[in-house]
Symmetry: C2
Subunit: 400 residues, 2 copies
């Protein structure tokens, strides 16, 4: 546990969810997380409202509860949107590895949908400084990975006229740094220990970092984008393990005269081996990477995807698959576009009429198409496009 991060221990169960570690002996208990982090579950009325406001079918990640938690301010943002006030989106990535896996794509796929549906500007932070400090990476390697990852992010289809991608090593300074100092002044070391679980053996770079991830929540950190728009609200789509950063941010915002950012948070995309925790970047067989070939995808799914099916066909026909732990079904529920087909598989596989092999075959098809589409899109991303997304510039088409 590199960070001495705070653990939640209760009875025999133990789960750790923080920006640097997600693990659990059993399934992640999201109800407990929601309680611990002080957020709320998204309900059907919210999904209906998004449909009404945007005039388009809500993303499957909304319909299927992948993005499942939020806080009060999200409704305020939608209230304001309904009255004609726009907002901006903020998401990010810590560029710790060259190749992204499917779990990494989820916030970006969802953010792209939000950007299109609400027609709002978006800032994407690449925390190369964080990864340089947490992983044993040089500044140069972190910056290189940030740029490589930017290509995968751009390949998700963002609109360059509404999107500013920046790396911390490139962008920290000026108004952004001023806000870092303002935030840092509001957080004692003891408070940071309470939120992030730092210990005395952690280096002061780690302790300095939370304000860096906090300040993109404030429009004044981006004078070239939001000058004169200091009251613009910020909506952050992210995985729920990032919540500590934004609890701190939301706590500090009013003391600086800033609006609190709203969050919409996803559950974790599980490892092929099972549903406890999110994927482990250290084990290539725990995840499908966007660089995997069709053959690798087929092999990984067939060999490693944990099945909730029974140990014999006879038992399977009798008891059906345990969908709560079945990875092929979980993965389909993230990526299979058609609700009816997913419902069909749920019924047939859950009752035992469909076998694991059939479900895995369908998943292999779905993932192969997804990965091949991403690979083609990424191959088309030029260095000039990266420069264009990362240029410090006004966004000409922000709110149209």
């Amino acid at each position: 546990m590199e960070n001495g991060a705070k653990r939640v221990e209760e009875e025999e169960e133990e789960q750790v969810v923080n920006p640097w570690e997600v693990s659990s002996k059993n399934k992640i208990d999201y109800d407990k997380l929601i309680d611990q982090f002080g957020c709320q579950r998204l309900d059907q009325s919210f999904v209906d409202r998004v449909f009404r406001l945007t005039g388009r079918s809500p993303h499957i990640f909304l319909r299927r509860n992948v993005f499942f938690a939020h806080n009060r301010d999200l409704n305020e943002i939608l209230d304001a949107y309904e009255r004609g006030d726009k907002f901006y989106l903020y998401t990010g990535r810590g560029p710790s590895s060259e190749a992204l896996h499917l779990g990494h794509l989820i916030p970006f796929m969802f953010t792209k949908y939000l950007q299109e549906a609400f027609k709002v500007p978006l800032v994407i932070q690449l925390t190369d400084d964080e990864k340089c400090m947490w992983k044993n990476l040089t500044v140069e390697e972190s910056k290189r990975l940030a740029r490589e990852n930017a290509k995968d992010i751009i390949a998700c289809g963002f609109d360059v006229s509404r999107t500013f991608i920046f790396s911390d090593f490139d962008y920290v300074g000026g108004a952004f740094y001023e806000n870092m100092v303002r935030v840092a002044k509001c957080v004692t070391y003891n408070k940071a220990v309470g939120i992030f679980g730092f210990t005395g053996e952690d280096h002061i770079g780690k302790i300095s970092f939370p304000p860096v991830q906090a300040v993109p929540s404030f429009p004044s950190s981006f004078p070239h984008l939001f000058s004169g728009n200091d009251k613009l609200r910020c909506l952050i789509p992210c995985a729920i393990d990032q919540d500590p950063y934004f609890r701190m941010t939301r706590d500090v915002a009013p003391r600086l005269g800033y609006k609190k950012p709203a969050l919409i948070e996803s559950s974790f995309f599980p490892a092929l081996q099972g549903v406890s925790g999110k994927m482990n970047a250290g084990d290539p067989n725990s995840a499908i990477y966007v660089t995997d070939s069709p053959k690798e995808i087929k092999n990984k799914v067939n060999k490693y995807a944990f099945s909730g099916g029974q140990d014999s066909v006879e038992n399977h026909r009798k008891y059906g698959a345990n969908l709560e732990v079945d990875i092929p079904f979980k993965y389909l529920s993230f990526f299979l576009e058609y609700d009816e087909e997913l419902e069909h598989i749920r019924k047939e596989y859950g009752s035992g009429r469909m076998l694991t092999g059939e479900v895995k075959k369908r998943l292999i098809d779905v993932l192969t198409v997804l990965v091949e589409r991403h690979r083609a899109a990424r191959a088309a991303v030029t260095d000039e496009m990266v420069d264009a997304f990362m240029a410090v510039r006004p966004l000409p088409n922000m709110f149209n």
Copy 2:
């Protein structure tokens, strides 16, 4: 003690010397500081060497031991200088107040001499971020004070073709920020507590700050000045209370492949009221400010300058003045240009032939000239000149 800063307690004596507090029940014990900070006293052979190397009379702050301590690397820098290798100077100021007092001018007067004598470039850091975090100042007020203070610094006579002045709020970013991260990675929280005495109730802005003051010691923090000159040595003239920052810097430098900066450190300029500690910015009567009128100078010296003279003229004639505690004589030893005249006063006043009133009169003359000269020089500093010194630019005349 706002910082929980580390105190050195021994027997009945107590002295506190750190970047945020200098105080002592008795006279500051510099031998103890030198021991504690691991530096060495400058000796006459060093002063002679500077004379030989520069071909000009060493500054009175050297001759009179105002700058009294250094470390091994200073000799290395002079060895290299003798072989034809230049170095650069780095000093700075925390802009916490509008008006500077005489104590604030000392490092700048000395640095100006070093710049002229060695013909080397100079970077001057205005730590507006530090003052924003330590004092109850807004970002905007800290930036304003930095610019005001820059005018006083420029008025000391620096050569714009060899001098880069920057404020942290303006300049942090890019290569400078990269070095901040590199330094922060090398310093654990426990280590920072050992050096700076932080407590859990200190905000994380304070804990983040030491790397900001460390990295101007590394030429790669200034690519517009020293690109391709990564091995250039750095010499830091400063008051000895800044030593903790540079002990940390010197500790970290080799781990980053950087040269250690060398230090040349001054004792403190005493308050009018006496020799324990340096001046208290909170009490306007404890110091002569560069904004004081001749009348104010006369009044302050006559009314507040602690005298080592005896309580009656009779006793004074008999025992002489105690020069160890006499503030008028101390001040003259900082600012009276002529060695012979100072020697004369030392003898005559110390033996009781000269009275406190006469010494104070001479001091008033000296300070009035000094302050009036500074006031005139500062009045001539335009906003355009400040912009010129603070422009991020190559220095055309760095090593000539």
